[in-house]
């Protein structure tokens, strides 16, 4: 695998994420978020979990980002104002990052190479999904439905009045 591509993807992803977290304008941040998600999807591809990457693309880039943009548009009056930035968060975030980094580096057991495995097919995922994970699947389905209804109710509520 090419390290260069890996590096590029990593940089793009992190930069996108950083931009999404720090850009003052919401709409810009939302666009940068898409960039970060695309980068993440690339990582999934890179790791051999193509299906997950695809799902990531569809769900996040296709659905979530669009939703966010819609929301931004719907709450435009407020969105226009530049957001204040709380610097205290940075300290905490950096500290947490430091802590995590220290933990990762200190842990010896993760220093193993990846095993060779047959590619993870969609069919296999489907099999596993409908055998081992059928209950979680059902729950997620329920959850999604509930979320859908909940979202609808939340948004509709005002209109009823």
């Amino acid at each position: 695998m090419n390290n260069a591509a890996f590096l590029v993807i990593a940089i793009v992803t992190l930069a996108g994420a950083l931009a999404a977290a720090t850009l003052p304008k919401l709409i810009h941040a939302a666009l940068c978020l898409i960039v970060a998600f695309v980068g993440l999807a690339a990582f999934f591809f890179f790791l051999g979990a193509e299906f997950v990457g695809l799902v990531q693309l569809f769900v996040y880039v296709g659905a979530v980002a669009v939703l966010i943009v819609f929301t931004i548009l719907l709450t435009r009056r407020d969105v226009g104002k530049p957001d204040k930035f709380n610097w205290g968060g940075i300290v905490v975030a950096v500290a947490v990052f430091g802590g995590l980094l220290w933990a990762i580096l200190k842990t010896p057991s993760v220093a193993i190479a990846a095993a060779q495995i047959p590619p993870l097919t969609v069919k296999r995922i489907g099999e596993v999904l409908l055998t081992n994970y059928v209950w979680p699947l059902q729950c997620v389905g329920l959850l999604l439905t509930a979320a859908l209804i909940g979202a609808l109710v939340l948004v509709m509520e005002e209109k009823r009045r």
Partner: protein
């Protein structure tokens, strides 16, 4: 016959009482009916009295009584009863007779009073009570009637209710006599606890009979003195006489009946009735209690006669004369002349009633003017009144032979000579005789002689209904003298329970001349001094200070006002003040103590106990507030906290491993 009257003696007072009650029920417009009822009642009573008189004549010292149980308390029966003896019988006749005359007189005198019926009700009531006093065979019953007599007197003195002075006089009379009655009451109690009975005569067990007197022993003196207190009050004796002149505020017939003839004499009657008590343990007829009676009587007689000299109110003069005469009677009783005293009492009843009614007639004729200085020359204008009044005056002055008063006074003077203790009473009595003649002459001259003055210009003779009783009474007082002559001392013997014998020799005694001289001196002196009286009194001109002293009744009223009454009023006010401030103050202080305890505890609760707890509570609350502040409600804060906690856990983990 006699048994019947003894058992039914109660009817004599009961009939006037019934008359009184039925009059009370009458409408006030039925004046004539009321008068008729009252007079009728009195006539019946008179008849009954005469009937009762009859059996007492059958033997000297005859006595009958009828006792019965009033009520029983516990195992003890309280018995009362009535007695018929010469004393009672004579009094009964006198009272009913005088009463009848006065009733008749009142019909005329009170004719235009708007409370005519009430007046007769009161009069009848009085008559009943007085008769009750006379017939009582129990000290308790006597006291009961005695008080009722006082009540009647109170009602009648205050009869003219719209006159404040009348009300004041009534009150004064009631209270003053009540002071005496308190002593009387204590005497009754003492007697009762000493002898165990209150009956006078009870077949040898009565308190006046030997057995009872023995039980009493030495305390009889005190009992007698206490009872005498009652007599002092009722009969207007020296310290308590002040009410009697004031009582003249009542209508004149009242003064005549109650405050001259009957009620005031009740005191004398009382002493006579319980005389065995007074004379118990007597040595030569002298006991301490009798000595007291004599002293009081003497003081009263002389003092009242002196005061009478300086009065201008026609009725007041008579009132003081009454006081004086009552003193005389007391002296008589005290020195042992019981019969003489009672005789004088009866005679006095007639002639004093006569005098008062005459005064009433005069007042009636002079448009209710009572000041003798404003009268004068009435002898031609009111001849009947004048004549009868003169008879009364003769009686009172003690002119002997034809006037009963003369004889009885004579008897008393005789009795005083026999007193072993001192002859002072005798001489003072002689002075009294002179004074009596003097002030009566003064009054006569003022009223009937001389020139007409302000009030007498339109004077007129009173109607027959008023003059008739005058004549009747005048007649009586003259007729009575027959029964009183020393030659045939019938009444004396009758009262003393001895047979009477006729001795013409006794008619003429040395004493008679002395008194005759004194009376003549009195009248002559009076004529000399007063023959040319004008508006001012000759004595006043000569001795203004002395006259004023006498005119103001020796300032006794003022003295009482300042001392006894003032002190009592102060005591009353003090009691009230103590009640409001001291006793109630103590209670308030206790309450305050409780309140203080409350304040103290509340404070302790607030500052002591609560403070500690509040510290703890406050600390907890402070902690809570701190926590609450941390929970700002902002998700980010929570997130931050979570992050920091994760970090902290991490570090902890690192530190542990």
């Amino acid at each position: 016959m006699n048994h019947w009257i003894v058992a039914n003696l109660w009817l004599i007072p009961a009939i006037p009482l019934a008359a009184a009650l039925s009059i009370l029920c009458l409408n006030s417009s039925r004046g004539k009916g009321a008068a008729a009822l009252a007079v009728l009642g009195q006539i019946v009573a008179l008849v009954m009295a005469v009937i009762a008189f009859v059996p007492t004549l059958q033997a000297p010292g005859w006595r009958a009584f009828h006792n019965f149980t009033w009520f029983t308390f516990g195992e003890q029966a309280l018995r009362i009863g009535w007695v018929l003896d010469p004393l009672a019988a004579a009094m009964l006749v006198m009272i009913t007779l005088v009463g009848l005359c006065i009733f008749v007189f009142s019909v005329g005198y009170m004719a235009d009073d708007k409370n005519f019926t009430r007046f007769f009700a009161y009069l009848s009531f009085f008559s009943a009570a007085m008769l009750g006093v006379v017939i009582a065979n129990s000290l308790l019953l006597l006291f009961v009637c005695w008080e009722l007599v006082g009540l009647a007197s109170y009602l009648l003195i205050g009869f003219w209710i719209d006159k404040p002075s009348a009300a004041a006089a009534a009150k004064k009379a009631f209270i003053t006599t009540r002071i005496g009655d308190i002593g009387f009451f204590l005497g009754i109690l003492w007697l009762y606890s000493g002898s165990g009975t209150l009956l006078f005569y009870d077949n040898g067990h009565g308190c006046l009979e030997n057995a009872g007197l023995l039980l009493l022993g030495a305390s009889a003196t005190f009992v007698a003195l206490l009872i005498f207190c009652g007599a002092v009050g009722k009969s207007g004796q020296f310290p308590l006489h002040v009410w009697l002149p004031d009582a003249m505020e009542g209508p004149t017939p009242v003064s005549a009946l109650i405050h001259a003839a009957t009620m005031v004499a009740a005191g004398v009657f009382l002493v006579a009735r319980v005389y065995p008590l007074f004379s118990a343990g007597a040595i030569d007829g002298v006991t301490p209690s009798l000595t007291v009676v004599v002293s009081i009587g003497v003081i009263t007689a002389v003092m009242a006669a002196l005061i009478a000299l300086a009065q201008f109110d026609i009725k007041r003069i008579l009132a003081y004369s009454t006081v004086s005469q009552l003193g005389l009677m007391m002296v008589s009783l005290g020195v042992g002349g019981v019969a003489a005293g009672i005789m004088h009492l009866i005679a006095h009843g007639f002639f004093k009633a006569l005098l008062f009614l005459g005064a009433g007639s005069v007042i009636h004729g002079c448009d209710h003017e009572q000041d003798i200085r404003k009268m004068g020359g009435l002898r031609w204008l009111m001849p009947v009144t004048f004549l009868t009044y003169a008879i009364g005056m003769m009686n009172l002055s003690g002119v002997p032979f034809f006037f009963s008063g003369g004889w009885t006074k004579e008897e008393i003077l005789q009795a005083t000579t026999h007193w072993h203790v001192s002859h002072l009473p005798h001489y003072l009595m002689l002075v009294g005789v002179v004074l009596t003649a003097l002030y009566m002459t003064r009054q006569m001259i003022y009223v009937f002689f001389g020139n007409k003055r302000a009030a007498s210009t339109h004077a007129h003779e009173s109607p027959r209904v008023m003059t008739m009783p005058l004549m009747m009474l005048a007649g009586c007082s003259i007729v009575l003298s027959i029964a009183l002559t020393p030659a045939w001392p019938w009444l004396h013997s009758y009262l003393n329970g001895e047979p009477a014998h006729f001795h013409i020799a006794r008619l003429i005694q040395p004493m008679l001349f002395v008194s005759l001289a004194l009376v003549a001196a009195g009248i002559g002196l009076g004529w000399l001094i007063y023959r040319n009286v004008a508006e001012t009194d000759p004595v006043e001109q000569a001795q203004p200070a002395l006259f004023h002293f006498l005119e103001s009744k020796m300032w006794l009223d003022e003295l009482y006002d300042w001392t006894v009454i003032g002190l009592s009023k102060m005591a009353a006010r003090l009691s009230d003040w103590m009640d409001r401030n001291v006793w109630d103050g103590l209670v308030r202080a206790f309450a305050g103590l409780g309140q203080f305890f409350g304040i103290f505890s509340a404070d302790f609760d607030e500052r002591g106990i609560n403070a500690g707890v509040d510290e703890a509570t406050g600390g907890t609350r402070g902690l809570g507030r701190l926590m609450s502040a941390l929970h700002s409600g902002q998700i980010q804060t929570y997130l931050r906290a979570a992050a920091v906690s994760v970090l902290a856990l991490l570090i902890l983990y690192a530190w542990l491993t």
